[in-house]
Symmetry: C2
Subunit: 181 residues, 2 copies
């Protein structure tokens, strides 16, 4: 089966909250000629997620209240990319800011769009190995971030038990296992 893209005929903005978010509608033409008016689009800032392992195989973990799920959640280093920042650079910066660790070995785990229909943002996931403490933590996040190391198998159990409430964090960890497999 040949999968042809949709064609955007026209595009309007409904809401703009720079630098965070924009929402609008498009008139799109499907491959069979049908036209859908007012198809939503949504864009927010791309971000990076890092699953980082120490030489001993422990995972760099964070825990905090997050206002998205309105719950306390286990999570992994992550953050929004700055304007013009490349994904790997952003991932390395966030790891350093949130944990004080740096790593010599990085592998991309893929890029994924957060909203299948409207777009959202691209998440860039990375696996970092041989991570080691190099400086003090200096994240500027609003949350009280608790940092700790856990053995890989312990994190697997906690993900299965539902301790990670964030889709991006859960996805990055599970995708890292695919590469570590």
């Amino acid at each position: 089966m040949i999968h042809r893209p949709w064609r955007t005929r026209d595009r309007h903005t409904l809401l703009s909250v720079p630098p965070w978010l924009e929402v609008g509608t498009e008139s799109v033409e499907l491959p069979d000629g049908r036209v859908v008016e007012d198809y939503l689009w949504l864009t927010h800032r791309d971000f990076a997620n890092v699953i980082a392992l120490t030489p001993e195989g422990d995972v760099l973990c964070l825990r905090s209240y997050k206002h998205g799920p309105r719950e306390v959640t286990l999570q992994f280093p992550a953050g929004l990319l700055r304007d013009g920042e490349d994904p790997l650079g952003g991932a390395q910066r966030e790891l350093l800011e949130e944990t004080g660790y740096a790593a010599p070995r990085w592998e991309p785990l893929g890029r994924f769009v957060t909203d299948s229909n409207w777009g959202g943002a691209w998440m860039h996931a990375f696996l970092a190995r041989d991570a080691a403490l190099v400086q003090a933590v200096e994240h500027g996040d609003l949350e009280d971030l608790e940092f700790f190391l856990l053995p890989l198998d312990d994190v697997k159990k906690r993900v299965r038990a539902g301790e990670v409430k964030l889709l991006s964090s859960a996805a990055a960890f599970a995708l890292a296992l695919l590469t570590l497999d």
Copy 2:
């Protein structure tokens, strides 16, 4: 470390596109007393994702152009929950509509919020086993959905190679492997 929730003091709506999406701002009070004005919130419809396996261990796969990433992508059965629909019921309905398959054995893989800070929607992921064809496909999606079976190891390779561009689909598959492990 005790992680206390933030408190919402006030809440405004900036954009409402029923039944799809709402965006607004909140005034939130952090545990240390700081107040953040105009913290964004975003809500859209909860959805379910299904990783379904045949008795032979093949994975039920779909492929189509998706307008979110503006790319053709490998994906797995999924869809928005209807008003009042429970997540498992929605997952079973979407599997049936998109593939014509039903399954006798279902396991939840977790619920995850799509936007860590603003909320977004809850994704409910499921693993379905012993799936079998029971009726003709009758999805009402705008996309031309191509349906096929692939061996589990083949899907692993394709996910690692970047053929799945949707965060929700990639996450559901990688999380299913954690349970199948």
